[in-house]
């Protein structure tokens, strides 16, 4: 192999690494290098290939449906959090749920944290199926923001189960 090819490869690789660093620090939609997007629950037992053991209480569809009338109370008794992206939230979310995108928490957490700490119960959901964003968001709320683990509950069925049961989703960015 000609040495010029190796030199070209090295120049290209260094250039791409520099571009990657520039992207990390300049592009607002790039991932934050220092952010742990998959915070672990120290109490959970992780088995490769198995669904993540989250160790949180779970909320059934019937329970969540019965909370709908309570979601606009002040101060809040139950708060429902949508851990998906803003685009997914706008396309259809459980009525009354707040958006708290697991991967862009910094955009929402300051405004939401006082409300979350007032609530007796916080129900977190994402897409359903093998989506784990609600688990990672719950870990983040407990281990980064100091929320009480016992106040958090996960709606494991997520939007998929909500739709499957024929319940309406609310479109747009408003709760």
């Amino acid at each position: 192999m000609p040495s010029s090819t190796l030199v070209q490869t090295a120049v290209f690789a260094v250039g791409v690494l520099l571009l990657g660093l520039l992207n990390s620090f300049v592009n607002p939609s790039a991932l934050d290098l220092g952010n742990d997007y998959f915070p672990a629950n120290p109490a959970a037992v992780v088995v490769s290939g198995e669904p993540l053991e989250h160790g949180y209480a779970t909320t059934s569809y019937a329970d969540l449906f019965s909370y709908l009338d309570l979601l606009y109370e002040e101060p809040p008794f139950v708060v429902v959090l949508d851990a998906r992206s803003a685009e997914h939230y706008a396309a259809g979310h459980i009525p009354g749920a707040f958006l708290l995108d697991q991967f862009h928490q910094d955009r929402y957490i300051d405004a939401l944290l006082p409300t979350l700490k007032q609530a007796a119960m916080v129900v977190v959901y994402c897409t359903g199926g093998d989506c784990e964003d609600s688990i990672f968001l719950s870990n983040s709320l407990v281990y980064h923001y100091g929320m009480d683990k016992d106040s958090i509950s996960i709606f494991e069925g997520g939007v998929a189960l909500w739709e499957e049961q024929g319940s309406p989703l609310k479109e747009g960015s408003a709760r």
């Binding site: 030199v7 070209q8 120049v11 571009l19 992207n23 990390s24 939609s29 991932l31 742990d36 198995e50």
Partner: protein, 156 residues
């Protein structure tokens, strides 16, 4: 006609790499989740995992541009080829782990490999990636469109 084959391969490779790169650049979160699912990189320190979705799309875009324009073509094609070998190895590894965990046969294994095309049948993806690797090394070794064109008979 044969003289246009290198150009065709380069344009096709560049188009694929550019489309994959821009798709990942547009949605780094989905790509991050895909890389995380491989369970090959630690989440602590976080930058080890988070740097991938910030740099890999740029690797693909830069490789696509270099292969298309000829600037650093051989180096870009070699870097991209080596990266594809590693990534394809990781896909194969995850497929074997899934086979072991779920008891599915190899030809039924399907997951989002983070390749920019959603959930895919893995054996098809492996064949496709092998073709891409061959394409990269072809782009690295071929003499270039200009030199290929200069050897064609002159008309007029």
């Amino acid at each position: 006609m044969r003289n246009y084959l290198p150009l065709f391969i380069r344009v096709a490779m560049a188009a694929l790499l550019l489309s994959y790169g821009f798709e990942k650049l547009h949605d780094p979160v989905t790509f991050l989740k895909s890389i995380h699912a491989y369970d090959l990189l630690p989440t602590n320190p976080p930058w080890l995992l988070n740097f991938g979705p910030n740099v890999i799309p740029l690797l693909e875009i830069a490789a696509g541009i270099c292969i298309l324009t000829g600037f650093l073509r051989r180096g870009a094609a070699m870097a991209m080829g080596c990266f594809l070998i590693l990534f394809t190895g990781a896909i194969l590894w995850r497929a074997l782990v899934l086979m072991d965990d779920t008891g599915q046969s190899f030809h039924n294994i399907k997951f989002d490999c983070g390749c920019g095309s959603g959930k895919v049948v893995i054996w098809e993806k492996l064949v496709f990636n092998t073709a891409l690797i061959v394409g990269c090394f072809y782009c690295m070794l071929e003499r270039g469109y200009r030199s290929a064109a200069s050897t064609s008979p002159k008309h007029g």
